[in-house]
């Protein structure tokens, strides 16, 4: 397989919410979404297994999201990977690698979807190898100066593809 291939995709109902500051499940016209607050940094975690066809090119996480009410401003998204390898990571504690980030603008129409891509090199995915389980942590960096959008950001889905 090659660059651009979809590795895995997640929807809000795949979320394994953290114990604290979890994004809030919500519905928008029947679409399950996860609400990320404008003031508090909130998180959503998704678990999967890295497909065997991944060839080490790095991972791009494309977050599909809408603004709950805003029609301007930017939301800053963070993505971090936690490798869960054979007899390695103790899942009693989180061990996410350093988050990578990207900023996306609120669509001019509330309810329209923005696709924001967060790129992670192969060295930024916590040493994850094919066939291993992992968690992807997604958060809105709400307290950052570059996050200027009012109201919630609603995560609709995430695609992971090989960069």
């Amino acid at each position: 397989m090659a660059s651009g291939d979809t590795l895995v995709s997640f929807v809000p109902t795949d979320n394994h919410p953290p114990n604290a500051n979890a994004a809030t499940p919500d519905y928008r016209n029947g679409h399950p979404v996860l609400d990320f607050d404008q003031a508090t940094v909130e998180y959503a975690n998704f678990k999967s297994c890295l497909p065997r066809f991944y060839s080490g090119g790095g991972i791009t996480a494309t977050i599909a999201w809408s603004a709950s009410t805003a029609t301007s401003g930017n939301a800053k998204w963070n993505v971090a990977i936690e490798r869960i390898e054979d007899e390695g990571t103790d899942i009693d504690a989180d061990s996410f690698a350093t988050a990578q980030t990207a900023t996306g603008a609120a669509p001019a129409t509330s309810g329209a979807i923005q696709y924001t891509a967060v790129a992670l090199t192969n060295a930024q995915i916590d040493g994850l190898l094919v066939g291993e389980w992992f968690r992807m942590q997604t958060s809105r960096d709400a307290s950052h100066a570059n996050d200027t959008m009012t109201g919630d950001a609603e995560l609709v889905g995430v695609e992971l593809r090989e960069t």
Binding site: R28, D37, Q38, S68, T69, A70, T148, T150
Partner: protein
Amino acid sequence: MAALTDPDRQDIADAIARELSTLRLVLGAMTKADLRAAINAADAWADANASSYNTALPLPARTVLTAKQKNYLLEFVLRRRREVS
């Protein structure tokens, strides 16, 4: 009553954003900074015009009500004005 502190004003901005998001009411092309600037201005106006409001109240309300009760009264008036507008 003095003007609100910066954290208090931020609490207002957060509360407004939460309520609008719950109701999905579009505020328009406003960023967090724009909303904060409007809240700052509204609070500064309220502070600057506090004595004018007090003077506008008739007796005995002006002397009987506490400052907090006068704010409470104004809050109800403004809320009703929003509801009927």
